[in-house]
Amino acid sequence: MMSNLEKLAYMADQIARNFATLGEAAGAKATADHIAKYWDPRMKQQGLAMLDGEGPPLTPAAAAALRQLRDAKAA
C-alpha cells in the first residue's frame, strides 16, 4: 500500500490524468484549480514541497499543476 505522501502524489497525478484531454497547459491549470479548491492547506503545502524534492517523485503532469499552484499563490 502507498504511504500518505505517495498517496498525495498519486492523487495529484490522478486529477491531472482526468484533465489530460484538455491539453498540457489547460490540463495543468484545471488540475491546479482543482487542488486549490479541494485540498486543505497542509495537503497543498505537502504537494508544493514535493516540487522541491521532499517526498516521492511527481509525474510531469502533477508537477506542472503544482507549479501553477505555487505560481498562483505567489502572484
Binding site: M1, M2, N4, K7, L8, Y10, M11, Q14, I15, R17, N18, A20, T21, L22, H34, K37, Y38, W39, D40, P41, R42, M43
Partner: protein, 945 residues
C-alpha cells in the same frame, strides 16, 4: 394527531380533465370523467359498503357488496367498477340493495369465526364494520356447514401472521402484491369454495417470494393478515405522520401508537415520495429503537483499552469540550474535525458543521456522502450547476425508457423500484448497465431489453461508447443543444466521442459488452421517447465516479432528455438524508447550498450571523483526516451517526487513523465498530424521538416528528448544542424549527422552507425561493441552474486497481433488501433472519476452478487485507467477478477494499478490488482477533457502590 383511519374513497382517482355531473342519493356531484360511482359517492360523504375495494388498488368488483341502482338501467351494478356518466341518477341505499347486501354478508359470515372480542382486529376490521353497515342481524345458513375454520395459521413471517380462517378471499392482498409491490408472490389457489390465498407455490410466507413489504397486510380488510405487534399489543389509539430513517426514498409513515408504545408503522397514503407504499425495513424493522444493546447513558474512558465508565451528561459534555480545546491548544486549530451524519436530520447536520466552523474554527467537516454520492455533487454541479437529481419520483410515470446503471433498486430503494416496475409493466423499456444480473433484469412481467453486463470499472468507456453512437449516427437533439447548452463544450465533446477509439467496437475488449448491445442501447436511449437515467453507487464508487456522473449528464443533454417530466438524471441516494447532509454544508469545501468556502460574500453572510471569522481554505475530507491522523497532526474527531470503521474502505488504515487520535467522540445509538476506538460515547436518539426534517433523493424536504420521548434524554440536536455551549458558543435553539429558520435565512435554495410551510404543504422540494415558493419538482425546465449546460469530455482512465496472477478476480460490493448499510439498525431486528451473514457470490466456473462449493468457507484476499466468509455459487455474477455485501462486522468486507478513490472527490473505489478467493477452514486469525478486541472494547465498568 388523534387516531383516525385514513380516508378510503374505494377506487383510484382519474386524471381526466373533463368533468361529469350526476346525482347520487338526490345530491348533485361533479367529478372527473372515469371516476367510479363508489368514489363519487365517497366524495359526497356517502360510504357505499365495500370489502374488495380500496383506493390504492384497481377496482375488482368481486365482493358484490357495493351494489347500487341506476335510473334507467337494469340490475344492480357494482359501484366500484361502474364509471360515472353525465346525468346519471344513482341510489346507494334502497330496500332491494339492503336486502342484497345482507344476503352477501350472511354468506361471508357463515364461514367466519365469530370471535370478534378476542380478534386482534377488533375495532379495526372492515368486515366487522360492514356487518354493522348492512344491518346484519342473523345468518340464516348457520355455522355448521362446510367452512375453513380449522385452517392452520401461517406464522412463519417474523412481522405478520396469515390466518386463513379469517380470510374472505377478496383478493386485496393478491392485488396489492401485484399492483403496488410488483412481486406477484401471492395467488388465489383453488376454485370456488376451495379458493384460498397462497404465497408462491403454497410455501408459506417466509419461504415464498414474498418480500415482506406489508402491502398485503395494509390491504387486508380483516385480521387474516395482521401485524404481530397488533396481535401482541392491541390496536393503536393515536397516529403521528413522520418520515422513515432508512433509504433515500424517504417514505412517510403514520407511526401508530398506544400510549408511548409504537404499535406499527403504516405507509401514509398522502406521502408524495412513497404514495402509500413501504418496504420491509421502514414498515417493520424499527425494533432497534428498543433493542437491549442500545446505550442511553453517556460514557467516557481515558484509553480505548479501558472499560467504559458511565458518567453524567454534564461530565461527558464538559470533558468533550475540554479535550477539543486542549488538543487545539497543543496541536493547532486544524488538528480536530467532525463528521455529520446522513442518518440525522438536516437541522442536526447543520449544527455539526456549524460546531466545526464556528466552534473549532476550521473547515474539517465531512459526511458519509464522501463515501457514496460525493461524485454526484461534483458531477451535476459541474454540468448542470446544482448538486442534485433533476426530477421527482412521480416523473417515472412519464418515462418511456429507463436506464438503470450501477443501482439495484429492488434491494436498495424498494419502494421506488415498485413504481419503476409498475411503469415497466405498463410498457416502458429498460436498459440495465451493471456487472451483476440484478433482479430488474428479469422479474415477473419485466425483462430488460438490454443488459450491459460490463466489466467493473468501465462505466465511462461504456457511456462514452453510447455517446459515440448517438453522435455518429445523428441522434443528437441539436435543437435542445443549440438552445440550452454551451456550443463550444458541446463541439469539443462531440468531436472527442466521435473518434473511432471511443466506438463500441473499439471499447468492447475493455468493457466486455458486445458492441451491438451498446449500439442498440444508445439508439433506444436517444430515440425511445422520454428517457431517464437512474443510478446508484455503482456509478459513484469508482476512481472515475465523477466522470461517470458527468458522462450521464452529457448523454442527457445531447439527447434533450432533461428539463421535463419523464426524463432526467436521477441519483438514487443511499441513506435517508444523504441529500440533506450535503445540502447543509457538510463538505469541507462548501457552506450550505453548495457555495464554496472561498467565496467572500458567502463567508461574510455566515460570519455576520455567527460572529466569527471563517477559514477561507477547504478542510479535510474523511480519508484526508485519517491520513493526517496517521501523520500525527490530526488528533480529535467528533462523529455523529456514522460508523467509519465498518463503512469506510481499507479498515486497517481507518483503525490506524482512529488509534492515532487522542479524542474520538462517537454519538450513536449503539457501541458501533468505530466506538471501539472512541474515548467519549454520547448516546444518540432515534428518528422516532426527535423533530426535524430529512431530504430525500428527489430533493423533497419532509418532516420528522417526535412520537416518543428520547430514551437517552436528548435529541441529537440538543446534544450538539450542549457541546457548542460548553465551548462557549452561546447557542439558544429551543426547537429544531428555529434551526431550519436559520438555514433558510442563510441558504438561498431553502429561502421559503420552514416547519410551518412543511406542515401546510406536506413536503417541499428545494429550490424553494420567491420564484417557486412551494418548491421545484422538476429542475432545469427553462434553463440550467448554471445558465447553459456544460459538456465535459470524459476520457476513460482505467483504474490502477489491476487484476493479475495473485489477484485475478474483481470484487464489487453492494447491499441487500433486508439489511441497511452497516446493519447497525437492521441487524438488531428480525430482518436478520433473511440475511444472517455476508456471503460471497462467485460464478460456478470460478468456484469450480478453486474447488469451492456453495456454502463453503472461503478466504477473500486483496492487497489491502483478508477476511473469510461463505460462498454463494451463482451465475448472477459474471465469470471473473465476485460480489459481497458489507452489512456484518464479523466479515468486515472493507478489510478488503483499498485506498483508491474517485479522482475528483476521494469517494472510495468500493466497486473494484482485485482479489483472490480460496477455500478456507473458517474465520481468519484477524477476524478472531478483531472479535476479541471488539468484545473487550465494549466492556462497561460496573457502577460504583
Amino acid at each position: 394527531m388523534a387516531f383516525d383511519r385514513e380516508l378510503d374513497l374505494g377506487t383510484k382517482p382519474t386524471l381526466a380533465a373533463t368533468m361529469v355531473s350526476l346525482t347520487i342519493d338526490g345530491e348533485a356531484v361533479e367529478v372527473p370523467a372515469g371516476t367510479s360511482l363508489m368514489r363519487a359517492a365517497a366524495l359526497l360523504g356517502t360510504s357505499v359498503p365495500k370489502l374488495c375495494a380500496t383506493d390504492s388498488l384497481d377496482a375488482f368488483g368481486s365482493c358484490r357488496l357495493c351494489l347500487v341502482e341506476i335510473e334507467g338501467r337494469g340490475g344492480y351494478p357494482a359501484s366500484c367498477t361502474t364509471p360515472v356518466a353525465a346525468g346519471m341518477v344513482v341510489r346507494t341505499q334502497t330496500e332491494k340493495l339492503k336486502s342484497l347486501r345482507r344476503g352477501v354478508m350472511e354468506l361471508y359470515i357463515s364461514d367466519h369465526p365469530l370471535d370478534c372480542l378476542t380478534c386482534p382486529a377488533n375495532g379495526d376490521c372492515e368486515l366487522q364494520d360492514m356487518a354493522g353497515a348492512v344491518g346484519l342481524r342473523e345468518v340464516r345458513y348457520g355455522y355448521e356447514g362446510a367452512n375453513h375454520l380449522v385452517a392452520q395459521k401461517d406464522v412463519s413471517n417474523p412481522y405478520f401472521d396469515f390466518d386463513p380462517t379469517k380470510c374472505i378471499v377478496c383478493s386485496r392482498c393478491v392485488r396489492a402484491c401485484d399492483e403496488t409491490q410488483g412481486t406477484l408472490a401471492l395467488t388465489v389457489d383453488g376454485r370456488g369454495f376451495a379458493s384460498r390465498i397462497a404465497a408462491s407455490q403454497d410455501e408459506g410466507f417466509f419461504n415464498s417470494e414474498c418480500v415482506s413489504c406489508g402491502a398485503c397486510v395494509q390491504a387486508c380488510p380483516t385480521s387474516a393478515l395482521q401485524e404481530k405487534k397488533v396481535v401482541e399489543i392491541g390496536t393503536p389509539e393515536r397516529a403521528i405522520v413522520t418520515t422513515c430513517a432508512y433509504c433515500g426514498v424517504g417514505c412517510t409513515f403514520r407511526a401508530e401508537l398506544r400510549g408511548e408504545e409504537l404499535v406499527r408503522m403504516v405507509p401514509w397514503k398522502e406521502g408524495k415520495a412513497n404514495r402509500g407504499h413501504s418496504c420491509v425495513k421502514g414498515r417493520f424493522a424499527w425494533g432497534y429503537a428498543q433493542h437491549q444493546e442500545r446505550v442511553v447513558e453517556p460514557m467516557l474512558r481515558a484509553s480505548v483499552d479501558e472499560p467504559w465508565r458511565v458518567v453524567s451528561w454534564d461530565e461527558a459534555i464538559s470533558h468533550t469540550a475540554a479535550e477539543f480545546r486542549r488538543i487545539q491548544g497543543k496541536y493547532g486549530v486544524r488538528s480536530v474535525g467532525g463528521i455529520t451524519s446522513s442518518r440525522c436530520t438536516n437541522e442536526e447536520t447543520f449544527l455539526v458543521q456549524k460546531l466545526v466552523r464556528q466552534g473549532f474554527g476550521n473547515n474539517n467537516v465531512d459526511t458519509c456522502a464522501r463515501v457514496c454520492h460525493s461524485p454526484t455533487g461534483y458531477g451535476l454541479k459541474t454540468t448542470f450547476g446544482t448538486s442534485a437529481g433533476t426530477q421527482d419520483f412521480d416523473s417515472v410515470e412519464a418515462a418511456d425508457v429507463m436506464v438503470v446503471i450501477g443501482a439495484n433498486p429492488t434491494d436498495g430503494h424498494p419502494v421506488f423500484a415498485s413504481r419503476m416496475k409498475r411503469r415497466l409493466r405498463a410498457g416502458a423499456r429498460l436498459i440495465v448497465i451493471d456487472p451483476r444480473r440484478i433482479d430488474l433484469v428479469r422479474t415477473p412481467h419485466i425483462q430488460a431489453e438490454h443488459h450491459l453486463a460490463l466489466r467493473p470499472g468501465t462505466n465511462v468507456a461504456v457511456l462514452t461508447a453510447m455517446a459515440h453512437v448517438i453522435v455518429t449516427e445523428g441522434l443528437v437533439d441539436h435543437a435542445f443543444v443549440r438552445e440550452r447548452c454551451e456550443a463550444d463544450t458541446f463541439e469539443d465533446w462531440a468531436r472527442f466521442v466521435a473518434e473511432p477509439a471511443r466506438s463500441p467496437e473499439a471499447t468492447e475488449p475493455l468493457t466486455q459488452v458486445p458492441a451491438e448491445t451498446v449500439r442498440a442501447a444508445a439508439r433506444l436511449y436517444a430515440t425511445g421517447g422520454n428517457a431517464a437515467f437512474y443510478y446508484g453507487l455503482g456509478v459513484t464508487e469508482h476512481s472515475q465516479g465523477s466522470s461517470t456522473v458527468m458522462a450521464i449528464a452529457n448523454l442527457a443533454m445531447a439527447t434533450g432528455n432533461i428539463g421535463r417530466e419523464g426524463v432526467g438524471v436521477n441519483p438514487l441516494r443511499g441513506q435517508n438524508n444523504v441529500q440533506g447532509s450535503c445540502d447543509m454544508g457538510s463538505f469541507p469545501h462548501e457552506l450550505s447550498g453548495y457555495r464554496h468556502i472561498s467565496e467572500t460574500a458567502t463567508r461574510e453572510l455566515f460570519e455576520a450571523a455567527w460572529g466569527v471569522t471563517l477559514d477561507p481554505e477547504p478542510g479535510l475530507r474523511i480519508p484526508n483526516m485519517l491520513d493526517a491522523a496517521t501523520d500525527g497532526v490530526f488528533k480529535a474527531l467528533f462523529i455523529q451517526g456514522e460508523d467509519i470503521l465498518q463503512s469506510d474502505p481499507n479498515t486497517h488504515h481507518v483503525a490506524a487513523g482512529l488509534a492515532a487520535m487522542e479524542c474520538v467522540v462517537v454519538q450513536d445509538l449503539f457501541l458501533n465498530e468505530t466506538a471501539n476506538y472512541a474515548h467519549v460515547f454520547l448516546p444518540g436518539s432515534t428518528f422516532l424521538e426527535k423533530d426535524g426534517t430529512f431530504t430525500n433523493a428527489e430533493r423533497r424536504i419532509q418532516r420528522v416528528r417526535k412520537v416518543m420521548e428520547p430514551k437517552n434524554g436528548y435529541g441529537d440536536w440538543e446534544i450538539v448544542q450542549l457541546v457548542a455551549n460548553a465551548l462557549g458558543l452561546g447557542w439558544s435553539y429551543h426547537h429544531p424549527s428555529e434551526i431550519m429558520d436559520e438555514i433558510a435565512r442563510l441558504t438561498p435554495t431553502f429561502a421559503k422552507v420552514s416547519f410551518e410551510a412543511l406542515d401546510r404543504l406536506g413536503s417541499m422540494q428545494w429550490p424553494a425561493t420567491d420564484k417557486a415558493p412551494e418548491g421545484t419538482p422538476v429542475m432545469h425546465i427553462d434553463g440550467f441552474v448554471r445558465g447553459k449546460g456544460h459538456f465535459v469530455v470524459t476520457d476513460y482512465v482505467p483504474t490502477d486497481e489491476k487484476t493479475g496472477p495473485r489477484y485475478p478476480l474483481l470484487l464489487t460490493t453492494g447491499r441487500i433488501l433486508s439489511q441497511y448499510n452497516v446493519g447497525a439498525q437492521t441487524r438488531r431486528t428480525a430482518n436478520e433472519i433473511w440475511h444472517e451473514e455476508d456471503r460471497l457470490e462467485i460464478h460456478p466456473q470460478d468456484a469450480e476452478d478453486r474447488g469451492v462449493a456453495d456454502g463453503d468457507w472461503v478466504s477473500l484476499r486483496s492487497r489491502a487485507g483478508e477476511t473469510t466468509l461463505r460462498a454463494l455459487v451463482t451465475d448472477r455474477v459474471a465469470p471473473g467477478v465476485v460480489y459481497t455485501t458489507f452489512h456484518h462486522p464479523d466479515t468486515q468486507a472493507n478489510v478488503i477494499t483499498t485506498d483508491y478513490s474517485d479522482w475528483a472527490t476521494n469517494c472510495p473505489e468500493y466497486k473494484v478490488t482485485a482479489v483472490q478467493v480460496a477455500p478456507s477452514n473458517g474465520p481468519s486469525d484477524w477476524q478472531k482477533r478483531y472479535a476479541e478486541q471488539a468484545r473487550r472494547s465494549r466492556r462497561i465498568a460496573a457502577a460504583a457502590e
